[in-house]
Amino acid sequence: MNDSVDQFPPYREPDDHHGHHESHEHHEPGFWSKHIFSTDHKVIGIQYGFTALCFMLFGFFLMLLMRWQIAHPGHAVPILGSLLHSIVGDMAPMAKDAAGQFTGYCISAELYNSFGAMHGTIMVFLGVVPLAFAAFGNYVVPLMIGAPDMTFPRINMASYHAFFLGGVVMLVSFFIPGGAAQAGWTSYSPLATTIPTNGQAFWLIGMVLLITSSLLGAVNFIATIIQLRAPGMTWMRMPFFVWAQFVTAFILLLAFPPLEAAGILQLMDNVAHTSFFLPTGLAVGGQLADRSGGGSPLLWQHLFWFLGHPEVYVLILPAMGIVGEVIANNTRKPLWGYKSLVYSVLFVGFLSFIVWAHHMYLTGMGQRIATFFQATTMIISVPSVIILTCMFLSLWGGSIRINTPMLFALGFLPMFGIGGLTGLPLGLAAADLYLHDTYYVIAHFHYVVAPGTIFALFAGVYFWFPKITGRKMNEFWGRVHFWCSFVFMNLVFMPMFAQGIKGMLRRMSDGAVNYSAARVPNAIDALPGSIMELNTWILWAAIALGLAQIPFIVNLFHSISYGEKVTSDNPWQATTLDWQTPTPPPHGNFAHAPHVLHGPYEYSAPGHATDFTPQNEPAEAPAAAPRPQPAH
């Protein structure tokens, strides 16, 4: 198979096509075509990354406001209160102290609900997925497989524009009368249809745009990985990160459309007053709703979670890919069990389509169905554990370099471990009946996504920054960022396990004050003061976590111009092709069409002069001087 690939050089000489309409890209492009309407996968990757980081910060602030409301329900919001009032009006009503004195503006229950819905939506669909899949995937995947660009550069650009437009629609919905969507990021019907705000329609239109964006992205990624691998880049020579992105793209391609279908149906319910998800005899505000009825709320949940659960693996697989690259590079030895990693990731991708109803044990869908999904849920934990175990075993016997990317990658392992293992009780119907909809669930999936995926994303940012800019980020502030984030992440999310096990429900705009022992002293399962007090602790930990991101933000922007310059194109001495390009990679990426000779992690190969053998370098040749640099 290799031979047949080798016989066909994939690149035509660019000179063949001078005068061709595509050759205009060889000229110096203007601002608009360089930064806004660029078809270069690297520019699009950076666009995605920057936009996604902004959205993540915004989603984080929504969360801070919610944590304030949970810790001090009905009290005036400090600093941001009047800004909030000027944006959302009466949804941020006046707060008064015991003496009736005006103290500022607080958060109403409706506003809290819309922040909750939008925090989830923004973090998942506008933050983590675009950063993990679209940003890193766009920038790194074509480099890693030795491709000049994505297969469909213009579709790639359209994908970013659809994403951006979707984000704008989501943001605009905060400003309309009635405010943004309030039915949670899951948008369960009939709630999503009966809440009197058009925010839900904005949410649905925004989602359709975001789904379109990820559909275009997914087609592009799969086609690129299948079609544009450099000669010699066989499937089993692909870096693990590329495999992870490949499976992620398939999940996005096949799991998102049913949500799009559901979104269209709910949009019909909201705009054309159909009853797809509205049961017969639905009463709203004590009145029989003027609807035909006959619909099924359960249908929405099935369609939503058919996406919703694979989505979890969209969040986690690219992160695992990044961690795999960083660990292999910094342990200076091959990833342990590369093949089992690849097969596990494929198996996870397949199984993720048949576990969705474990989110629905409480819907009364029946015990037999619950049993089936319980079984598949337990089975899917096996490949996930294999992946994590391979990563851990890769550390064994390595001469580990500790630097910021490696710290974040190492932090990912136990954090994702906690997140994954605490998910098992939720996958078992009997335990889930109790834990469902409590803070335990929030703690569980935030351990997976926040100190899990987001740590891996930080690792990726620190790791690939030198390739993108030619400069390293500051190591000292990187470590400050890691240790502070690590401590405060745990202080934020660990207490939620305790709150959830004690029965504190999520999505309560008053932080469960009404269920506290102070309010209802005689109830046997009232929440004790020690549990309620944790709300305040979490608030302060969350604020500290926010402050801990300042070193990162400053470091990121400062290092673009003032960071320590890298002296080689391959500062981490990595083996994969993404480091065998000029820095930063020019349009078309490679100075010479790469020819892959061996697997992705040839570290510390016996008999080789250096402890790394790039994929396109002969195994026996001693490491030569830096590769020739083209003028740029």
Binding site: V5, P14, L215, Q227, L253, I264, M268, S275, L303, G588
Partner: protein
């Protein structure tokens, strides 16, 4: 640097980029329509006994539309084959047929939509139901103020359930006549739009989304037929690929209709 395999097949995968891309896109389309069809199944099984409509749609028109699309699939194929044998004139002819067939399909579909739009079910104050096509509303008709009259071409029934199965012998033998009803006698008046019941809702959604696909496909084919066909002189091979890729999409849209027709019209 040029992106490889835009025209010729990659030797080890045996496919060119755009063809792989459209197949991947169609896979996601299968999931999209699959989601909607599963919604149809769940709504239909979950409907109250006797309340799922039968025979509401015009089978003759549906059959004509099915034949139109089947024919357009053939002309699409022939257009591609004409490109393959480098016969541009034949390509122009066959794809002109495709476009005309598609537009006729959309025309018939709009007529069917309109037919549902002017079809009213009227709940009367005496508990009976009137049902039929709107002939005219009097100029001063106002349901809220209870003034004016509405004239329909249809019939009266005792129970809504009688309106559900139009294939039943009773419904087949029912006499349709013009009736004029005073606004004062009307409790509720509603056309057969999407909100009428879950059947019309899923009917309009499924066929509407399908019609949008037809429209999109027609626009693409019309572009390739018109301004886009300039590529023929410069790069006939690439142009032929475009015809093949757009043809694959068109065949998929046809195939969706092949499922829609029995599901909505015949059962």
């Amino acid at each position: 640097m040029e992106i490889p395999y835009t025209i010729e097949n990659r030797p080890d995968t045996g496919i060119y980029n755009a063809k792989l891309g459209i197949w991947l896109f169609l896979a996601s389309e299968v999931m999209l329509f699959g989601g909607l069809f599963s919604a149809y199944v769940l709504l239909r099984v979950g409907a109250e006994p006797g309340m799922w409509p039968h025979g509401w749609l015009n089978v003759t028109l549906g059959t004509i539309n099915t034949l139109l699309l089947a024919l357009s699939a053939i002309t699409t194929l022939l257009a591609w084959a004409a490109c393959k044998v480098r016969d541009f004139g034949k390509f122009k002819f066959f794809h002109a047929c495709t476009i005309l067939l598609a537009l006729t399909f959309l025309g018939i579909k709009s007529y069917e939509y309109h037919d549902k739009w002017i079809h009213y079910e009227i709940a009367l104050a005496n508990g009976k139901f009137a049902d039929g096509h709107l002939v005219e509303k009097s100029a001063d008709f106002d349901l809220a103020k209870k003034i004016g009259t509405v004239t329909i071409h249809g019939r009266f029934v005792e129970d809504r359930k009688e309106l559900m199965d139009l294939r039943s012998p009773e419904a087949q033998s029912a006499k349709l006549e013009e009736h004029t009803i005073a606004a004062a006698d009307i409790k509720k008046l509603e056309n057969y739009g999407p909100k009428h019941n879950t059947f019309t809702a899923i009917y309009f959604t499924l066929t509407g989304l399908h019609a949008l696909h037809i429209l999109g496909g027609t626009l693409v084919i019309a572009y390739l037929w018109g301004p886009g066909s300039r590529m023929w002189r410069r790069d006939p091979e690439r142009f032929t690929n475009r015809i093949e890729v757009s043809g694959l999409f068109w065949h998929f849209v046809d195939l969706v209709w092949i499922f829609l027709f029995p599901v909505l019209y015949l059962t």
